[in-house]
Symmetry: C2
Amino acid sequence: MRLTDFLPIFGWLKYYSRNDFHGDIFASAITAILLVPQGIAYALLAGIPPQLGLYASILPPMVYALFGTSKTLSVGPVSIAAVMIASALNAPEISALQQPVQSAVILAAETGVLMLIMALLRLGGLVNFISHPVLTGFTSGASILIVLSQLPPLLGLAKPLCVGSFSCYTNTVQTANTSTLLTGLGALLLLILFGKPLTGLLKKTLMKPAWITAISKCGPLLTVVLGAIAVNMFDLNNAHQVATVGHIPANLPELRFNAVDTAHWRHLLPYAALIALIAYVESVAIAKTIANIKGEKIQPNNELLGLGAANIASALSGGMAVAGGFSRTMVNFSAGARTQMAMLMAAVFVALAVMFFSPYFAAIPKSVLAAIILVAITPLIRLRNIVNTWRYDPSDGIAEVMTLLGVLVLGIEEGITLGIILTLVSYLRITSHPHIAVVGRIQGTEHYRNIKRHAVKTWEHLLLLRVDENLTFANVNFVEEFISDQLQRQPDTKHVVLIFASVSYIDSTALEVMESLSATLKSLHVTLHLSEAKGPVLDKLKKTDFLSHLQPGKVFFRTQDAVNELA
Amino acid sequence: MRLTDFLPIFGWLKYYSRNDFHGDIFASAITAILLVPQGIAYALLAGIPPQLGLYASILPPMVYALFGTSKTLSVGPVSIAAVMIASALNAPEISALQQPVQSAVILAAETGVLMLIMALLRLGGLVNFISHPVLTGFTSGASILIVLSQLPPLLGLAKPLCVGSFSCYTNTVQTANTSTLLTGLGALLLLILFGKPLTGLLKKTLMKPAWITAISKCGPLLTVVLGAIAVNMFDLNNAHQVATVGHIPANLPELRFNAVDTAHWRHLLPYAALIALIAYVESVAIAKTIANIKGEKIQPNNELLGLGAANIASALSGGMAVAGGFSRTMVNFSAGARTQMAMLMAAVFVALAVMFFSPYFAAIPKSVLAAIILVAITPLIRLRNIVNTWRYDPSDGIAEVMTLLGVLVLGIEEGITLGIILTLVSYLRITSHPHIAVVGRIQGTEHYRNIKRHAVKTWEHLLLLRVDENLTFANVNFVEEFISDQLQRQPDTKHVVLIFASVSYIDSTALEVMESLSATLKSLHVTLHLSEAKGPVLDKLKKTDFLSHLQPGKVFFRTQDAVNELA
């Protein structure tokens, strides 16, 4: 165990070059320009004051920079985690407490602690719990919910959009505020123009790609600045009821953590568990995408450590739960970031912005922030993907659709839980059918091969079965069924030999089933034997009374020995 | 599809013999003698009026007899399901409704419907969801809870036993009612004597085993009768405050089902899901144990159908959720039951008892019923099993202990959920490491074998990898890691060939990872190829653009073809 195993920053910092610095400082400015409006917008999306998003953009990326193995992952507030926080805060038992800020901070702390526990237990492989179809279905569903939630602030509706009946719908839409609508749609138009149209235009000027990224990513900042200017110039918030962000304290976050109300923590725990899972899985997916491009490596357990520490740092500094953001990471990478120094410096820029520009944030219209969220979230709705998945594998397609519908109809947590259950059920169905073959001897040799594929010698009283997989609770019943089917086909069998050459693990359920199988076979006057069992498997079996229950069945070293004695 | 696939009763009824009838009628009388006190006791354990247990002993076993594949399973009220019902009824959102009877009936209906849905989806394999250690840990934990819950009625305590402090404990124990205590301990003593001591004595008389079973199983009936006589003779319930069962309506259940309160149903659904899972898993385990002894077969999907229909029948006739009971089934079997005709007749006996003896049930002391539950439940507490499991496989041992502690500390539902999660996590950890081997050619042949086990020819620019398992979301990351590790060891590699001879399924997550792997390898100037892919796998891949993304990588029919072209 070396220091760099825990703190990868000491691995790369000593080789840090001037070139690295040039790339990092440029990328850090661009990423900071994105972080400020995103921090405010995602906090509002989560239903908490904007400073919780800003605070989550300062300490957490710094802490991640120390522990994380991804060189370009941009850790901070992200939309999917924000909507999961909103969902937790809206749950009856949580909203009844009427402490949304406290709840959001506890959620971040619990998310961090859970990630650290997962790191400690080396559960980085938990990423395998969620298949791509389920993750895509979940992301699409959550993104649709986000889009729907942003329509009222974008249009300036007085109440949530109602789609129950046409009259109810028109009544709600009629509450739209024209000034809000105009600023919102104006921001939306500007942001869309800053996307493909602008980059297309800039590419024709043969500008450097890093500069094209830089300019096109100033869209959110520009809309926010223009929106705030418009509010001040036309007195939009007083004279025209355009909702704005309002006062944000100009001080940096204080490090503290008060009040452990155990009931409050317990209520939030299931939500934190799902946020931790999704935040981890999404972050690793993003980090891996970039690492693959750069030929680098991600260590899942280090990522758990880094993300866990970042979330605890967020909670300690009064911020919301954080994760790696897809679009921001891509921007950081394509703006030329070489190391996590870029995110360290971006965090410093955000801190400076909070200290010196907070008074100006107050005038940002909420409709502009809604437009920023809409533009960021729309690419995450990937309905086309469902068609492709379905065409390739209908059971995966069903899992994707069910997860998406689950999120929309039942709710965020219910949807992802449903998706995970569906994945596991289909996985168990697949893996509960282990490879198992009836084998016979290739004439003139001591090799034993599948009777279906080779011309081999078999014996009327002897059944040789090669089990090709580890025996566990999930597949041992299939093995039992297989043997009983074979015995019906070959009713004169007196001895069954299980060839365990490929078996390196037998769990205790499988052991019990094998014991009862041996007893059942005895009552049918058939003896069960083993052959070619590996040393560790045999050592474990010797700790139990399985081998004495097996008697008169034996354990043969080689299958040939069994044939010599029993055939 | 034949009729007997759904209604196994038509398979055996036409061969029904006089001998079968002799065995069945005798067993039915013994089982009915057990069913009546158990029905009353388990209903009280669930916290509902006794008739719900009696009604659950009439129609459900009859319906199971039509659909079930086990010839001797005794379906009716069982202790574990009863304590799960009690837990559901005590949940804040359920107990707030103050409709325990209605809730218990809805639980039975939902349990039945969920089982039928599982049968429809052919999810009989769900039995694989729960490993033996988790099931044993759960059963032990739930049984301990049952024992603790029966101490107050046994001792006649005025309030639940309190173990928080010594003074609190003594205060509670001092509320014990001497008369209740005496009837309870008397019943306990009688039941214990009717166990091993009596059967040991009877065996010496060379009596027929079936008669020994019969006599020893009359213990519960005898204690109940003696208890009721004592209550009447000494006026125990009025003069000495001995709690008794109280009035039970003497009419048979009416078939009806009123009021669908969707919120009520939705609240109960998660509890019903866990009851359905446990009831199914326990019933199949019992049915299998007996079927193995008799050399018969259990069809898991038929069991789901039978148990589902039985639960719906229970709900329709105003009863509680049912399952196959272990001790009752063993009694039924050892008393000589040959077919489900025994349970059909036992149900008729219970119905007659309800019609003609209900007035007498009122005087049964609750302490006697508590004694019956205690004697029935104690063998299910298998703490010794934990030691054995732990010694054989520590990770299984941890799952067993955690499940048991989960049940005791967190609650019934939380405990079993924790156990299932632990099983799945450990399962994913094991199965996420697929067999994968670097292979080379055995000189002078076209056979390719593992380089670790055979002296084979390999090539500097060519890496041949044989993947021995289906590729899924759970193991594809390991394959990716394996390939990148191999490339680091063999840096001159230009071509990687994946030999898919053993792969018969690639899920869509694995497909996506393979696509990104191919792209990553391209950027490192390495080309990915496939060989020996099976027809169905190739057909599925052709539906996607994977093969065009693979180019210039190819799909070779034989590995030899790949070597001829690339080596």
